[in-house]
Structures are given as structure tokens and as C-alpha cells.
Amino acid sequence: MLALAAQLAANGLITGSLYALLGVSWGLIFATTRIFHFAHALTLTVAVYAAVVAVDRWGVGLPAGFVLAAAVGCLFGLATERVVYRPLRRVDATQLNIFLASLGLLIAGESAILIAFGPQARELPGFPISGIALGPVAFTTTEGLWLLASWALLLLLIGWLWWTRYGRAIRAVASNRELAQCVGIDPERISLLVFAVGSALVGVAGTLLALRDTASPTIGVQPVLAAFIAVFLGGIGSVLGAVLGGLILGLAENMGALVLPGHWQGVIAFVVLFLVLIFRPSGLLGVRTR
């Protein structure tokens, strides 16, 4: 039983780290722009396919594939903000309108990828997958990479947000858009910036995921749903909250298997979200509003 608990805790920590990265990538955009960017899932998919084409078809190395995924994700996110969301904001579209546009973009984009690349899963080669055993705990080399890469990127992002001018500007807009405008910060430019950074991060997170799960047209939805839950668990507007939310989500999903069959993971995720929203509606680290 102890061995099982240790294994499940390790699984939870690994999955939670990736959820944290995904949560931060989406939470940064949502906290700053208040756009429920469902098409973040499409950004992930597009970036992953770019990496797969580059690595598998053009023979580019895997590290370059990661860089390309980040770049393609960044450009796609920027294009979505410029071409879809900004025109809608200019005609005073409601949040619901923007959400529906985002959902429509996701569905249309997934269908386009399905037509262009077919329904088959596409492998992202170039990373040796084998097992690593540490006492009672075993995990794959891919999962080891998830853990390292997720935390490296999270620490870099947190440092950037706390100690750079642009980082502070993003936090200012996320905290109070009008007040930030009063001190000379341009929210439109900051919107573009968070779309660029969040989309690049989700491109890398998606590529990490594709190393284990392969690429398919629907690869983006499940991880981005996990990102939503992580953000709402941790508290909207809090980067550290999204990290904590991701970790709790990953641990809860996996530790739940101590008492329930493994396929109940999805249900456990929503039960945890439900409980947090009942007892602490603003999330674990969110700011309480009256």
C-alpha cells in the first residue's frame, strides 16, 4: 500500500507540474484580458503539429522542435488576439460572444487540422523513452523531462513577472486595468504580450505532452481543461495560485486511485474544483472580492 501511495504521489507530482505550466499559460491571458480563451487548445495543437512536421518530416532536432513550437504558438496566439478578439472588443462584444468565437475557432481549427493531417496519431520522435526506477517509484524519461522542463519554465516566468518592467506591467493590468492605464501602461500592448508569452508556453507544454501522447487533432482540449481547473482552483489572477492549483489537481487525480479505480481521475478533478469553489469561491490564493 505504501509503495502504491508513493507511486501515485510521484505520478501526481509529475502530472501536476505539467498542469501548473498549462494553468499559468492560460491564467496569464485570462487574468490580464478577461478573455475566456478556449482556443488556447488550438494554439497548443497548432504548435505541436509544427514541432511534429519539423522533427518528423524535415529531420530537425527535437530541441529545435521545441523552439519552433514556442515560436508558432506565440505567433498563433498573437494572430488570434489581433484577428479574432480585438475586432470583437472594438464592437463591444460581450464576454459570452468572445467565448463563443473562441470555441468556434477551436472547432474549425481542429477540423482543418484533421483534414490537413488526417486522424491518425503522429509520433514526435527524437526522445529516448525508457523507465527510471527510484526505489518503489518508477516513471518514464518523458515524465522526468516534464518535471524538469515545467519547473524550469515556471521559475523563469515567475522571475520575469516579478523582476522585470514588463512583468510588473502585466501584474498591474491583471490587478487593475484602469489604474494601470492611469500610470501609463497600455493595456492593448500588454494584452498582446500575454498572448505571446502564454501561447509560447502552451506550445512548449503541448510538445512535452506529445512526447508521450503523440499528436492528434484533439490533443489540445483535455490539457487546456486541466488548465482551466488549475486556474480556478488556485485563484484567478494569481500565478502562484495556478501553480498550486495544477499541483493539487495532479495529486488529487492520482492519489484518488488509492481508493477508486484509475478511470475516476476526471471525476475527482471536478469534485476537487467543486469543493474549492463552494468553500473558497475566489480560489485558494485568489483575492476575495466583495
Partner: protein
């Protein structure tokens, strides 16, 4: 005013008469026999929908190119059950039955097939399933399966596990639907007869990519063998993760696909299955003709799902339609194809299959085909045991 109205009615009358005489329905529209398909065109199983529809379309194209059946051309109409969604299957079936009035539907997956079966009974429409393997598909009116069902193949997985692997403790990991649960139930039932015990039963979602929680629980149960009731690509992901997590017990199952092999890679080595296997490299003339035609049409080697749906059209529907046309019947009429199928079954419906050897469809909706036990060696399946009269014989 009266004169204007008279002119209007005269013009409309002349136009109607002209339309009736000058533009009769095109010959093709009158003659076409529609074949409905309800497949996984989207979702995690979209690969199956693609290859199944390709298999059927190839046969239809070949028949139409040769002038149709007694001059009747065939047309395929596809609806999507979104990879096993029974509601979506019913919606698609209603469209095919009520709007398109198809006399036959080719289905896949156990849940949508079960859901649409009562509608097919009501409309007297023949249902052919070449994908779903749930044992619940046996003995259903109008439904005939051309794939060996889980209740037919899974017992041999247990026979192999207890006989060759000497397994006493077995764990199962299976699709959380009728097909996977059917395999799990058959394994449990056979295990009780062969003296082994099922220590862990872990269902999983269709198309899942992460099995860490299930595999952790299975590893903790320390089984001598792991039996899978899982299909398609999922097998490749499970094998990769199971080996990486340190599960060294033999892994057995009821399906292998080239795509799963590609995903699983070296982790697939030693994976053993009991299956009615389609071997595209077999020397059988029918197999070769089908494989060559498929390659020419799609540039790909067909796997068994494509073969099953090609066979539906070429070896089941074609002779049925020919008999109906030859006796002056209308195959597009509701109940005609189903009636002809029932007549064929009463006279033993047996035919040479693209699998090589004969296939026989039974009145209870099951099928008999050559069965075998295969093991992955290198990146291909190798026959390690023939199944003769319910027992596994060494090759």
C-alpha cells in the same frame, strides 16, 4: 384581374407539364442502392472511421466501375458516431433511415451498434458490424457481426495465460464500454474455469493516453499476466507505459494494429493476442487482390478494419443484391436485403474471405473465421498457436 389569374395558372400548368416531361429523375438517382455507414469519423477513433469507410468505398468503386449490380449502382452515405457515442449513432441512424431510406447500414463500435439495432428492426434494415466486439452483440435481430466477438476470442487469452505463462494471478485493463467490459467478463469467467484469479480490474476511457493510475494499481496487485480488453492505438500507449513503469509480466490481448505497433515500438515485443487475424502479406489470391487494389487507391497497406468493411460490400452485399436483382426485386426497398440475408443464412452463408480461408456467418449473428494466437516478434506478428476446436495447438 380574372385574365391575369387565368394566365398565371396556364403558365404554371405548362411549366409543370414541361418539367415532368423534360426533366425526369436522372437514371443514376433512380437506380442507386444506398449503403449507410455509421462510423467513428471524429474523436479518438477517427482512424477507424477512415479505414473502414475506405474499405467499403473501394468495393463500391470496383462494383460501380464494372457497371454496378444488374445496372444498379451503389452509393455510400456516412454518418458519424463520434467514436462510440450512442446518441450520435442514433441521430445518424435516424437520418439514414428516415431521410435517405437506406436498406442496409454498416456499423462499428458496440455501444452505437446496440443503440441503433431497435431502429433497424423497426425499419427492416440489415445491420452489419465489422468493428464492435462486445458479446452483447450476439443474438440481436437484423444484426450480423463479421468480427469475432470478445466472448469468442478472450477465453483463448486465458488459455494461453494459464497454459503457457502458468499464470495464477491475472490483472485486466479494458475499455470502459460494452466491448471492453465484454472482454473483462469473458476473462473472469474463463479464469474461474482454468484456475486463475483476477486480482485487479481496471477500466479506462476509450482513447486515453495516460494510464499511470491504472498501471500503478495493477503493479501493486503483482499479477503473473496482464490481459487487455483494449483496442486500436490504446494498446501501444499501454504497452509503452506498462514496461516503463516496471511491469514485467506478460501482456496479452485481443487486438493488434500496425499503428499501435508504431506507437508502442520496442515495448510491444512479446505482446500476445488471440485474434481472427488479417495478414496483408498472406499469399491468398483474394487477400492479394484486395491489398493491391487498396494500395493503388489509397497508397497504404490495409489493416483488418478496412478488410472487414470491404468484405461487407464485396462478399456479403454484392451476392445478396445480385440475387434480388436477378429475381426482379428492388434491393432499395425496405426489408429486401434483410430478407435475402436471412434466406442465405438458412442455407449456410459461407464464402471465401479476404482473410484467406472461409468465413461463415451464423444465424445468431456471430461469425467463424480462422483463429490463432500471435506474438509480436520484431515489429510484426508471428503465429505461435493455432486454435482448433476450442483448443490452442502449438504451431
Amino acid at each position: 384581374m380574372k385574365q391575369t389569374r387565368l394566365w398565371t395558372w396556364t403558365c404554371l400548368g405548362v411549366f409543370a407539364a414541361w418539367a415532368a416531361v423534360a426533366s425526369p429523375l436522372p437514371v443514376e438517382a433512380q437506380e442507386t442502392v444506398k449503403i449507410g455507414m455509421i462510423l467513428a469519423m471524429t474523436g479518438p477513433g477517427a482512424f477507424y472511421g477512415q479505414v473502414m469507410s475506405r474499405g467499403a468505398q473501394l468495393a463500391v468503386d470496383q462494383i460501380n466501375k464494372a457497371g454496378g449490380i444488374g445496372g444498379r449502382r451503389l452509393q455510400i452515405l456516412i454518418e458519424d458516431h463520434k467514436s462510440g457515442d450512442a446518441d450520435a449513432g442514433v441521430t445518424g441512424a435516424r437520418k439514414l433511415l428516415d431521410v435517405d431510406k437506406v436498406p442496409v447500414i454498416l456499423t462499428s463500435y458496440s455501444a452505437p451498434t446496440l443503440a441503433i439495432q431497435p431502429l433497424a428492426v423497426e425499419k427492416k434494415v440489415l445491420l452489419l458490424n465489422g468493428g464492435g466486439v462486445g458479446s452483447v452483440l450476439v443474438g440481436k435481430a437484423t444484426l450480423y457481426n463479421t468480427r469475432m466477438l470478445s466472448s469468442q476470442t478472450a477465453p483463448f487469452v486465458v488459455q494461453w495465460a494459464t497454459g503457457r505463462v502458468k499464470a495464477k494471478r491475472v490483472a485486466t485493463l479494458f475499455w470502459n464500454d460494452a466491448a471492453g467490459q465484454g472482454v473483462n467478463a469473458a476473462i473472469k469467467e474463463t479464469c474461474s474455469k482454468f484456475g486463475c484469479q483476477v486480482m485487479a480490474e481496471e477500466p479506462h476511457d476509450i482513447g486515453a493516453k495516460n494510464y499511470s493510475a491504472q498501471l500503478a494499481r495493477i503493479k501493486a496487485a503483482r499479477p503473473d499476466a496482464l490481459a487487455l480488453g483494449t483496442f486500436g492505438d490504446d494498446v501501444g500507449y499501454i504497452l509503452t507505459q506498462a514496461r516503463a513503469y516496471g511491469i514485467t509480466a506478460p501482456i496479452l490481448g485481443v487486438e493488434w494494429t500496425p499503428n499501435a505497433q508504431k506507437i508502442g515500438g520496442k515495448a510491444m515485443e512479446g505482446y500476445t493476442i488471440a485474434v481472427d487475424r488479417f495478414d496483408p502479406a498472406s499469399g491468398d489470391a483474394k487477400t492479394k487482390a484486395f491489398v493491391d487494389a487498396y494500395k493503388a487507391a489509397y497508397g497504404d497497406v490495409p489493416e483488418f478494419y478496412a478488410a472487414n468493411y470491404y468484405e461487407h460490400v464485396e462478399y456479403i452485399l454484392r451476392p445478396l443484391l445480385k440475387r434480388i436483382v436477378d429475381r426482379g426485386g428492388d434491393p432499395a426497398k425496405a426489408g429486401e436485403i434483410l430478407g435475402e440475408m436471412e434466406r442465405a443464412l438458412s442455407a449456410k452463408f459461407k464464402f471465401g474471405s479476404v482473410y484467406g480461408g472461409d468465413m461463415q456467418i451464423h444465424p445468431d449473428g456471430t461469425v467463424s473465421k480462422p483463429l490463432g494466437v500471435y506474438e509480436v516478434k520484431g515489429d510484426a506478428l508471428t503465429l505461435v498457436g493455432r486454435i482448433v476446436e476450442g483448443k490452442i495447438e502449438s504451431k
